[in-house]
């Protein structure tokens, strides 16, 4: 399994060669509460960094998931639509959102490492 990086918006990016797996962090799911709905992009869609990629909703909150890096959507985790609870149970595993084909690897350098993300989480509390 490749290296995992994080954004300040609590998305994670697991790097698997020139493909990245994107989802929301364990912290993000705990803040949202029970996830009840996700809206995912279509495979083939080209996303620019920072563009709205998905929407995730709990009972009382909704938030947009932004593309942490630019790239083309290779695959979406369609199983989430029927079982959104997976995002709560295993956010950084089976609860992944989309796989992106990276278009600019240099964008990865601006992201936080796992250790940095932990420090960041501690700082916002």
């Amino acid at each position: 399994m490749g290296e995992t990086k994080y954004t300040e918006d609590h998305e994670y990016i697991r790097i698997e060669g020139d493909v990245v797996v994107v989802g929301i962090s364990d912290y993000a799911q705990s803040q949202l509460g029970d996830v009840v709905f996700v809206e995912l992009p279509k495979a083939g869609k080209k996303l620019a960094k920072g563009e709205e990629a998905a929407v995730v909703e709990s009972v009382k909150a909704a938030s947009e998931v932004y593309a942490p890096v630019s790239g083309e959507v290779l695959e979406v985790n369609a199983a989430l639509e029927a079982q959104p609870g997976t995002i709560n149970e295993d956010p950084e595993g089976t609860g992944w959102f989309i796989k992106l084909k990276l278009s600019d690897a240099s964008e990865l350098s601006g992201l936080m490492s796992e250790a940095d993300y932990k420090t960041y989480l501690a700082s916002i509390h």
């Binding site: 709905f37 909703e57 709990s58 009972v59 009382k60 909150a61 909704a62």
Partner: protein
């Protein structure tokens, strides 16, 4: 003052407890030079007797629908509402409750909303209905915006048979929301060519049936063409009672059905409050405006109801909400639900038949008056009549003879060149005597 429980002693004691010596210390953040000492131009408080007298005097200056032969419709209808309905909606726990944010102590409201949604879905032939809108016209505006969200287009085509006020509401909202509207010319006899306006740029087509002029329309071909071009069909009604007899829009392929529910359970009230009915297909539920009630269970597995899919709404989504709507038309939807529960499909069908029968009887009589002609080939409880002269003038003169004959079309469409056309509605409240009085008064003024 009978509504204020505090005495002067209470107030003084409470100020002391708070630790200030004058009430204005609590208003200290208001700029001192903007603080008022009184409102000199408004009168002092009044007792019940005086308030009732003042308001009663104003009420007495209005002619009530029940006091005269009454044939006014055009989007609001005089129907009989069972006494049970008004008794029940005045129960404190319904009347003085809030939006059911705390479901454990609002199951009464939530359960009737669930019943309401079920009734509206069944009547319109759709998958799901919301917990109501302000009224039919604002619901129509919301339906158009919803279609734009679903189709990601922004052009609406409005039938010339759409109620002119509904068209104005859509026009105003669209102009402000920078969306395009194509309004077809007033269409007296449902002869317009809507199909030729449907193409890949169109988000939705808005068609009313029975239409503003009373004509009953078959929406099937319009639905098919809409769907072939990726557009939605919004079906509108202003007379919900018609659904007791007519093929529901859902069975003709409508994607959104929206209309006015006043006729069931609600009084005329000079135009409001009324209750907007709003239904759609399951696939579009997350794009729906307004409150939704859903079934669930409590912590012990007992069935119950909650407001659900709230993330569409303004209090969570703020500027990304599907609508800015905050409330529904709670108490009016309760009146609707109770009246509809009393009617059941059997009673609704019967009262709809009586409406139609009374309208047919009146149309036949009017057709027999020389110089007057009923224009529609089909109608439910309302139709248009051409009169020899100015319809507004005739309506005024008949009102002076204590007959409320209908609505001159020119009142809602002043520039359409339809000064000699009036809309006449007849419901279950009309009698043979009412119809005879109508014909007599009409002959006198012609």
């Amino acid at each position: 003052m009978r509504y204020l429980p505090l005495t002067q002693d209470d107030r003084a004691g409470m100020l002391a407890k708070i630790g200030v010596d004058h009430i204005d210390a609590l208003f200290a953040d208001i700029p001192a030079d903007k603080l008022l000492s009184s409102l000199p131009k408004l009168p002092a408080h009044k007792g019940e007797i005086e308030v009732e007298r003042v308001m009663g005097r104003m009420a007495a200056r209005n002619v009530t629908a029940s006091s005269v032969p009454f044939f006014v419709g055009a989007g609001a209808y005089k129907h009989h509402v069972p006494a049970t309905v008004d008794h029940l909606i005045q129960r404190s726990e319904f009347l003085t409750s809030y939006t059911p944010y705390q479901p454990e102590i609002a199951q009464g409201t939530l359960q009737y909303l669930f019943e309401f949604q079920t009734q509206v879905a069944a009547l319109t032939g759709m998958d799901v209905a919301n917990a109501s809108m302000y009224d039919g016209s604002t619901g129509c505006g919301e339906a158009v915006l919803m279609a734009h969200r679903v189709t990601k287009r922004n052009k609406a085509v409005l039938s010339g048979g759409l109620h002119p006020h509904y068209a104005s509401v859509v026009q105003t909202l669209s102009e402000m929301a920078q969306a395009e509207v194509v309004s077809l010319a007033p269409d007296l006899l449902a002869g317009e060519d809507l199909l030729s306006h449907i193409d890949e740029t169109v988000s939705c087509v808005v068609v009313q049936t029975p239409d503003f002029f009373g004509n009953i329309r078959n929406l099937r071909a319009i639905a098919d063409k809409c769907h072939a071009h990726g557009a939605l069909l919004i079906a509108v009604f202003t007379e919900v009672m018609s659904l007791g007899l007519l093929t529901p829009p859902g069975e003709m392929g409508a994607d959104i059905v929206v209309g006015e529910g006043q006729s069931i359970g609600n009084a005329l009230n000079f135009g409001g409050p009324y209750v907007g009915l709003f239904a759609t297909k399951s696939a579009y539920v997350r794009q729906m405006p307004g409150r939704l009630c859903g079934e669930t269970m409590d912590a012990e597995g007992t069935r119950g109801y909650v407001l659900t899919l709230s993330t569409r709404e303004q209090h969570i989504r703020r500027d990304k909400a599907t609508s800015n709507i905050c409330t529904n038309s709670g108490l009016c939807s309760l009146a609707f639900t109770i009246h509809m529960s009393l009617l059941g499909q059997t009673g609704l069908k019967r009262v709809a038949e009586i409406n139609h029968a009374n309208a047919v009887a009146l149309a036949d009589l009017l057709d027999g008056v020389s110089g007057v002609s009923v224009l529609n080939t089909s109608f439910f409880n309302e139709f248009i009549v051409r009169v020899p002269g100015n319809a507004a003038h005739f309506v005024e003169q008949m009102a002076a003879r204590d007959v409320m004959a209908g609505v001159p079309v020119s009142r809602l469409l002043p520039d359409a060149g339809l000064d000699d056309v009036m809309l006449v509605a007849s419901t279950e409240v009309n009698t043979d005597e009412d119809r005879a009085a109508f014909v007599d008064a009409l002959k006198e003024v012609l």
